[in-house]
Symmetry: C2
Subunit: 185 residues, 2 copies
């Protein structure tokens, strides 16, 4: 064991998990550092030691979120539909992470860990989807953007509750016929 069992055990991890939980409950803004400290059972200033300030906590959440996101996208394989559905599945299953990573004003986007994980995700989204529009010239680089846009838009609209209720309660199933409009012809 390295420094795993200190005063608290693993406070850094506990704070991140408390933050993710709080964000899941009421969004990326409706929590306080002191609340995270209370959830972790430590003093009100303990989080500052590990993260500095609020943005520090959110930077850690963004770094972890982008890593999980990149993993999920890479694991989806080469099929564009599958990547798109994985995108939406991640947004729904890991909502707090998804909500944070696309709001860079909340954290420090220049953080090395964040930037690296984001680059991984970007690669899948802007390059990894060759064959997006098989009947179009391969150098049409707007096709990946179109695919990214439609799945991102669906996911974000779904999470915000803007979509009509008739779509049911399974976002991935609901998204399938929607994103099919883009590529299956």
């Amino acid at each position: 064991m390295s420094g795993d069992t200190y005063h608290h055990g693993n406070l850094r991890r506990a704070i991140i998990e408390a933050a993710v939980g709080a964000i899941a409950e009421s969004g990326p803004a409706a929590w306080s550092l002191r609340e995270l400290a209370r959830r972790a059972g430590v003093s009100h200033a303990a989080p500052a030691h590990h993260f500095g300030d609020r943005a520090g906590v959110l930077t850690a959440v963004a770094a972890e979120g982008y890593t999980l996101f990149a993993n999920a996208l890479e694991a989806a394989g080469d099929d564009l539909h599958e990547v798109g559905l994985a995108y939406i599945r991640f947004a729904v299953d890991h909502r707090p992470y998804f909500e944070v990573i696309f709001r860079p004003e909340l954290y420090r986007p220049d953080d090395p860990e964040v930037a690296a994980a984001r680059a991984r995700a970007d690669r899948v989204l802007t390059e990894g989807v060759r064959g997006a529009a098989p009947d179009r010239p391969n150098d049409d680089r707007t096709a990946p953007i179109a695919a990214w846009s439609i799945v991102h838009g669906f996911a974000h609209l779904w999470l915000s509750g803007a979509l009509p209720a008739r779509l049911g309660d399974d976002p991935v199933a609901a998204a399938r016929p929607v994103i099919r409009h883009l590529f299956d012809r």
Copy 2:
């Protein structure tokens, strides 16, 4: 004149404009009621009289935002491309409003004025785009959702700075070839 020129003149309006300005500068969360009061040159508790609390201010912003949004969409006519481009144009030109209305956890979505304006916008987005997929059955109601998703996704990604810089600095021009993937065949 009704109650237009009271102590302040039109504090309600001034507070809303101050809020929109503050949101434009640093997002829907990075401002305080007291800052709005200072901007309007009134005491720290004046906003509470008109709006109750923070959510009250944001509810007023959402109501005004949804109204402007519905106006913009309705004014775009029947052509689907034009509606889509108007959507993106609104998101960019009225960013603070756009950022608020799709974050219902920030305000009171049940507010009558908000609900009415939102219904107007929803009508254009989920019904008003007949002919979306001319070669598909008219009862395919996922087509409007696809159109909504792609323009919403593009707009949101653009605003969050997630899209590659090579797309240039004119979001409407950049969006044109992207959303063309969906309908022009």
